[in-house]
């Protein structure tokens, strides 16, 4: 369904031929951001440890937000007026802000968790978990 809507968005802008490529790039970046956010959601549920969940959330969240906002900024562009450029510039400002702040907050949270004596999983713990899962499967 999302491909259908994307193709209609792109084909509507064929009438103004200069904007076809810009809108196509914007829609593609939006869909790519959704893919990265799917990775974040799956990682947040499936990973066994706080630090691995932090890994999934920090990276996927930053990249998917940057992709989606940039894609929407490109889809919004329709002419070269001053207000349109200002809008794109504001959205790129949000992208820059998130590019700086999300890794910072991830780092601060991870440091707080580490000084709060939350230990990461080691090899032995992973082996124990795997053995327990194998027993539960064999039963």
């Amino acid at each position: 369904m999302i491909e259908m809507v994307a193709t209609t968005v792109v084909s509507e802008s064929v009438n103004s031929p200069g904007w076809f490529l810009v809108h196509a790039i914007g829609v593609g970046m939006g869909i790519l951001g959704l893919v990265f956010f799917l990775g974040t959601a799956v990682g947040m549920v499936r990973f066994p440890d706080f630090y691995t969940r932090m890994h999934a959330a920090g990276k996927g969240d930053t990249l998917s937000t940057m992709f989606m906002l940039t894609g929407f900024g490109l889809v919004m562009m329709e002419d070269f007026s001053a207000s349109s450029w200002l809008l794109l510039l504001k959205i790129l400002g949000i992208v820059l802000f998130i590019f700086i702040t999300t890794p910072t907050s991830s780092h601060a949270l991870m440091r707080a968790a580490f000084e709060d004596d939350e230990m990461p999983l080691g090899e032995k713990d992973l082996k124990k978990i795997r053995n327990r899962a194998r027993k539960a499967n064999s039963k």
């Binding site: 706080f50 969940r53 937000t65 929407f72 949000i94 949270l109 939350e118």
Partner: protein
């Protein structure tokens, strides 16, 4: 048709927020909850831009998105610094303090 692209993208974002909401509710440690709230807050900035598309007032809603991203960052930093400098979280949650893992082995 640009509005339909915005609507479907927002709907997919909301659907993908459900697993993170699960992690916020069921998370074994408090830090998992803070992390989930941080992720959802970052995505809310995107959703605000999408809502601005639907109302044709993107220039106004982009400012809201900037303010929301700023508040989200400040909230995460304040919470992490607070837990970093004061009593450890598991001492607040549990009576017996010891080094442990949140995953039961």
């Amino acid at each position: 048709m640009k509005e339909w692209f915005a609507i479907i993208m927002g709907a997919f974002l909301l659907v993908l927020m459900i697993p993170i909401l699960y992690r916020i509710i069921m998370g074994p440690t408090g830090f998992d909850r803070i992390l989930g709230v941080n992720v959802i807050g970052t995505k809310t900035a995107v959703i605000l831009v999408i809502i601005g598309t639907l109302f044709d007032r993107v220039d106004m809603f982009v400012d809201f998105a900037i303010a929301y991203a700023l508040l989200n960052f400040v909230g995460a930093i304040v919470v992490s610094r607070y837990f970093n400098r004061t009593v450890p979280l598991h001492k607040m949650e549990r009576p017996k303090p010891r080094r442990r893992r949140s995953v039961r082995t």
